[in-house]
């Protein structure tokens, strides 16, 4: 059994269907992410990207299929899984410093009534070091820039030392140089042996940085390396519901060479 677990991909989404308010939002979605791999999840608004992430987190129960993290069904708080929400989900005006925010990533693991000890603070220091925010550890989070805020959220997810990292639209509202720095960080995090899955609306950024790209619209329409997918307009037209003359396809054509 342990051999089977070891051989299992870091994340496998097996024919997962999810209903929200009686409507089928995900239909037999199928995707796997291996350790060491950065996978981009692309799709139009309402395609079910966030729903897929929430299902992987164990916050939504699929009506069909199964999500396995390292071969086991994920449960909130039980699985070492790092989640980086969209920046606007976080209360940045809260009077708290960077290191304390990163420590909240360990709230579930510590459990009720237990206070963080040396091991936990070490995990926080490592996570801050990893995103190069150690020198800002004592800074109130309200004073950080957008890119720094994104890195704090990544550090909070890394505090659990997860083997799988989920990023929800990390590039939204950031300028190009900041996006570049962040993508380089995400590639490095994957190369260090983590599986990284990120949703994004930034097609170019995803095609540039990701090892594989998955197109989602209710179901996974296509998965492949950026080189291969950029050459084939059909799945993009189907996933995004656009015609052959759309700007999206022109951009795609420009990147394919």
């Amino acid at each position: 059994m342990s051999a089977a677990v070891a051989a299992a991909p870091a994340l496998s989404v097996e024919d997962v269907s999810v209903e929200l308010g009686g409507r089928l939002v995900l239909q037999q979605a199928r995707l796997s992410v291996d350790k060491g791999e950065l996978v981009g999840l692309l799709g139009p608004n309402g395609a079910g990207k966030t729903t897929l992430l929430r299902t992987v987190l164990g916050l939504l129960r699929p009506v069909g299929g199964r999500v396995a993290v390292e071969g086991r069904t994920a449960k909130p708080g039980r699985t070492a899984l790092g989640y980086v929400p969209q920046r606007h989900e976080f209360a940045w005006e809260f009077p708290i410093c960077v290191a304390d925010v990163v420590m909240t990533g360990l709230t579930g693991r510590l459990g009720l009534f237990r206070r963080p000890g040396a091991a936990e603070w070490e995990a926080v220091a490592d996570a801050l070091e990893r995103v190069r925010m150690s020198d800002l550890a004592d800074r109130p989070v309200g004073q950080l820039s957008g890119g720094q805020r994104q890195r704090v959220l990544v550090a909070r997810a890394l505090a659990l030392r997860p083997s799988l990292l989920l990023l929800d639209e990390p590039f939204t509202g950031l300028d190009m140089p900041t996006q570049d720095l962040l993508s380089a960080l995400f590639v490095d995090l994957a190369r260090e042996g983590r599986a990284v899955l990120m949703t994004t609306h930034d097609l170019l950024g995803a095609l540039d940085a990701c090892d594989r790209v998955a197109l989602l619209n209710r179901s996974i329409v296509a998965v492949g390396t950026p080189d291969r997918l950029a050459l084939d307009p059909a799945p993009w037209m189907s996933a995004f519901g656009v015609g052959p003359e759309s700007a999206l396809l022109r951009v795609l054509k420009a990147t394919a060479r």
């Binding site: 708080g77 709230t107 140089p177």
Partner: protein, 319 residues
């Protein structure tokens, strides 16, 4: 009246209600100050107001039946809080509408119940605006013990309450029981309100929750410091407010709230970092928020490392 005369009055056996009122007012302010930090930081002011009104039918029932006001108010407040928490799970209606429906309903129920009691107008006024006379000895213990329990729960659940205040979805993903912690927080707010209603009154109690915590927020960027400052400001304002009201025969609740408001305005104008005076000295416009809005470009922030966004040195160099 000088402070010394006030002090002697406190020990005058014929004025035994005065030290009791002071003790209850100060304890209430301390507890409301601590709990109020969460109310302010989570933007729960409306919930605080709602709970303050929602305890009213419980007080009315306890008054009519001659039972304990604290217990009656707590039961009514908790029932309303639970109803709000449960009904808010339906995402079709926003939480503030649910709160509005239930707290006005609870308050209306209280008005109807208390109209059945003899001496209706006088007791209504006492509930709405508070009174420092007629606090039974037993209430001192009830307030003290309840207060300690509230503070203990805040202390024990601090890490969870911070996690759910920062970002509920991530907290849920970490396995934190968000719904139950919300409920606990509502109950804590209810208890803080109920023990304060006696002296300060149903309508003004919101100030004890909101004003000291807001003042403290102006003075610090650290939650731990805020949770020490808020009860200090609240407790000191209760003491000063009671002294002023006793000296000039002003209504106690109103006076305490006005003292709290003065403290808030002082914090607004004189706060070290965010205060108006500090900003002007730094040569900035008075109303620009320096959290977030003025954050530097990220490329620059990364290159400059720790030096980015450090406020300009303020003193000295100007002359």
């Amino acid at each position: 009246m000088t402070p010394v005369e006030f002090f002697t009055d406190l020990f005058n056996p014929e004025l035994a209600f005065l030290p009791k009122a002071l003790a209850v007012a100060v304890m209430s302010s301390i507890i409301c100050g601590v709990v109020g930090c969460y109310v302010v930081l989570r933007g729960m002011a409306f919930i605080g107001d709602a709970v303050a009104h929602a305890v009213f039918p419980g007080l009315a029932v306890a008054f009519v039946l001659g039972g304990s006001l604290v217990i009656g108010g707590t039961i009514a407040g908790v029932i309303t809080a639970v109803l709000v928490a449960v009904f808010s799970q339906n995402r079709r209606l926003k939480e503030d509408s649910i709160i509005g429906i239930f707290f006005v309903a609870a308050f209306a129920l209280g008005v109807v119940i208390i109209s059945r009691a003899p001496g209706y107008a006088g007791s209504l006024q006492q509930f709405l605006f508070g009174s420092i006379t007629g606090i039974p000895d037993s209430d001192l213990y009830v307030v003290g013990i309840t207060g300690l329990a509230v503070l203990a729960v805040v202390f024990l659940l601090h890490k969870e309450l911070v996690a759910i205040s920062l970002d509920r979805e991530s907290a849920r993903a970490l396995g934190v029981k968000v719904f139950w912690l919300d409920l606990v927080l509502y109950v804590l707010v209810t208890l803080a309100v109920v023990i304060s209603v006696q002296t300060i009154g149903n309508i003004l109690v919101l100030a004890l929750l909101i004003t000291p915590a807001s003042t403290a927020r102006l003075l610090t960027d650290r939650l731990s410091v805020m949770m020490v400052l808020a009860p200090l400001i609240g407790g000191a304002s209760a003491l000063v407010g009671l002294y002023v009201s006793w000296s000039w025969d002003f209504p106690t609740g109103g006076t305490i709230v006005l003292v709290l408001t003065v403290a808030f305005l002082l914090g607004w104008f004189l706060g070290p970092r965010h205060g108006l005076v500090g900003r002007l000295r730094r040569g900035r416009g008075p109303l620009i928020d320096d959290t977030g809005a003025l954050a530097p470009a990220d490329g620059a922030a990364v290159l400059a490392g720790a030096h980015a966004n450090v406020p300009e040195p303020v003193d000295g160099g100007r002359a």
